[in-house]
């Protein structure tokens, strides 16, 4: 089986998991949740096999083009979702996250992103490419979990304080977002900023140059620093914190996509 057959199979499974997720969530069927959990595991296996196949074939890191990077981000999101489902329960956030994964997969497989392997330019020939990109994207996948939980938090209807059930559900979303940031933020710091600085120093002789991509990853980092601090102030916890988690992820997305297409800089190869 080729890389793309495996990828297509994973994609179909993810679609199914999304569908089952919404059915389970809307219909309140617990049994479906278990099925979709194991289904998503098998999807991850196929997806990993597809990426591994390409890596072995090309002999280079599986995130050197836009197609590869988006595909790897989708893979990381699946990983994060499975970890969260296993240890903390995603509940309502689950199916919405699967929707994002399906969207990322669709974007990756769109004809707008060329699929062929192109040889690495000299600047990218470094093992830091592996560390810098993979850890950043895995960190961002956890931040995506926080993004979805925060969006759901913001969109859930304001009900009277007497509705205890709804209040508990909201608090769960808030806690879910916090836990996701607690895992994703250190990974993002390590991958994007620290490994990024080490690599930049290795390649260009300076660890920081205020290049737009660098600045935007710093902005993303500052958003999450702000998120963590606002949770300590009573009046800010909840709605305002959730809004900041949403802005933080939008900033991460802009760092990933926007900077390449809209701003010029040194990071223009991916």
């Amino acid at each position: 089986m080729s890389e793309f057959t495996l990828l297509a199979l994973a994609f179909i499974i993810y679609l199914l998991v999304t569908l089952l997720g919404f059915l389970a969530y809307l219909g309140g069927k617990k049994r479906l949740q278990k099925t979709s959990y194991f289904l998503s595991l098998s999807g991850l296996v196929l997806h990993s096999a597809s990426i591994l196949y390409r890596t072995i074939q090309s002999g280079q890191a599986p995130f050197t083009s836009m197609y590869e990077s988006v595909n790897f981000l989708a893979w990381s999101c699946v990983l994060a979702v499975i970890i969260f489902e296993r240890f903390f329960r995603l509940e309502k956030a689950g199916p919405y996250l699967w929707l994002i994964i399906v969207a990322l997969m669709a974007l990756a497989s769109s004809p707008a992103l060329p699929k062929e392997v192109s040889p690495l330019v000299p600047a990218l020939q470094s093992y830091w490419l592996w560390l810098h990109v993979s850890i950043t994207l895995i960190g961002e996948a956890f931040l995506a979990v926080a993004f979805v939980a925060s969006l759901l938090y913001l969109s859930s209807r304001e009900k009277g304080s007497d509705d205890r059930q709804a209040q508990i559900r909201k608090e769960k979303l808030d806690l879910l977002a916090y836990r996701a940031v607690a895992i994703g933020f250190p990974l993002f710091t390590l991958g994007a900023l620290v490994f990024g600085m080490i690599w930049a120093n290795q390649a260009w002789g300076r660890y920081w140059g205020w290049d737009p991509k660098e600045v935007w990853s710093l902005i993303t980092w500052l958003f999450y620093a702000l998120y963590l601090h606002t949770r300590l102030v009573m009046g800010w916890k909840g709605k305002k914190s959730a809004l900041i988690a949403v802005l933080g992820f939008l900033s991460a997305l802009f760092t990933f996509f926007g900077v390449n297409y809209l701003l010029s800089g040194l990071h223009s190869y991916v």
Binding site: P119, P122, A203, G205, Y207, V215, I219, L226
Partner: protein, 438 residues
Amino acid sequence: MRSTFGFLSSLRLTIFLLIAIIILAIIGTLIPQGQDIDFYRHQFPHLSSLIISLKLNHLYRSPLFLSLVFLFLLNLLFCTLKNLPLRFRRLKNSVDFTSEDRSLTGDRHLAVRLAEKLEKTPEKLRTELKKRRYQVKIIQKADQKLLLARKGLVGLFGTELVHLGLLVIILGGLASALFSERITLALSEGQSEEIMGKNFRLRLDKFITEFYPDGSVKDWKSLVSIIENDQVQLQKAIEVNHPLRYRGLGFYQTSYGYDWGRCRLSLELKFSEQDRKRVELSPGERLLLDQNLTIVVSSFIPDFQIDQLGQAFSRSAEPRNPAALVEVNQGGQQIFFGWIFYHYPEQSSFHRKTPLILEIRLLSFTAPQFSVLEASSDPGTNLVWIGSFLLLLGLMGSFYLPYRELKIIIRQPNPPLTIFYARKNRQSFLEEIERIIL
């Protein structure tokens, strides 16, 4: 004095600074940095005076941005000074029997409920806590027994480590801004250059460009020698991502170029279908073709372009549109004068003065390549690495190994007293405690 300290160490200031720095940093990516003043006048006619007066064209060095960073530095410092003693006190006071009111998890009801339901002996609790990687101590004093369980000591200092790390990183950045030095060395093969302030020379022995089968560049390699007192001390290949480090300096492969002044051109002169001559020469060199025919290339331009005044110039150093200005004289009479284009042999009539059957083609051109290396010394770098290490240690400690402390004081005949404290993720800590005690 007290209020200044309070303000500088406050969370409100932190939140304000984070928001302000985010906004300025975003502005810095929207306004192109480091351009001429005219560029801003042209591009942002209404905002240019604001941009220039606030120095937003060098935003990350502007007084506005730097003062925010300075305030941030003070905020970090004072916050750490405020909190560090509290952490040490917690570390010390944990063994205190009398510390009544330390259930900082905020759930006093739970504390009471747990204390009431506690039936397990301290010894049994100890084994269960140890299974969960707690360090457990049981201290007996008179008729009281204290069980102290805690884990994640790095996590206890997590926030402070993060803040100290950031402090060190910012200081490193300051050191870089003030003391870092960069020199650009452009060397052709065989050339060497004395490194300023250091007692050695760097010589480029060979410069190699490697290509992939599809023609794109695979690698640039500069084989260099370090020469000290006329002795070769070290030889190494510098590549992108593989710098040479020597005596506190880093040498990086940053660019390359062609030494067009020393290029060799190959020209074909066609007098008629049968009469063709091929010559090789460098710009400036006068060549005698036969008794009264001479040819000279007065200039060679790798990327030919004409400016507004009609002057020829090179748009770049890359051979994108190579052109040679050729002059042919016969018996003191100029019979040809004009630009010969490599890519457009048909259009060589440009500037031609003498209409003649003579046709000239530029067949090939070669120029020695030179390598551009950058030597840099940056005393801030090590501080940044130390700061990054502290930052990561603190983050990992805070979030992955958060500090958790559980104290149970058993005092007959009163019910036992439970006191617990967690720095992060209190919810899951409470769940864990419930599982252990009940």
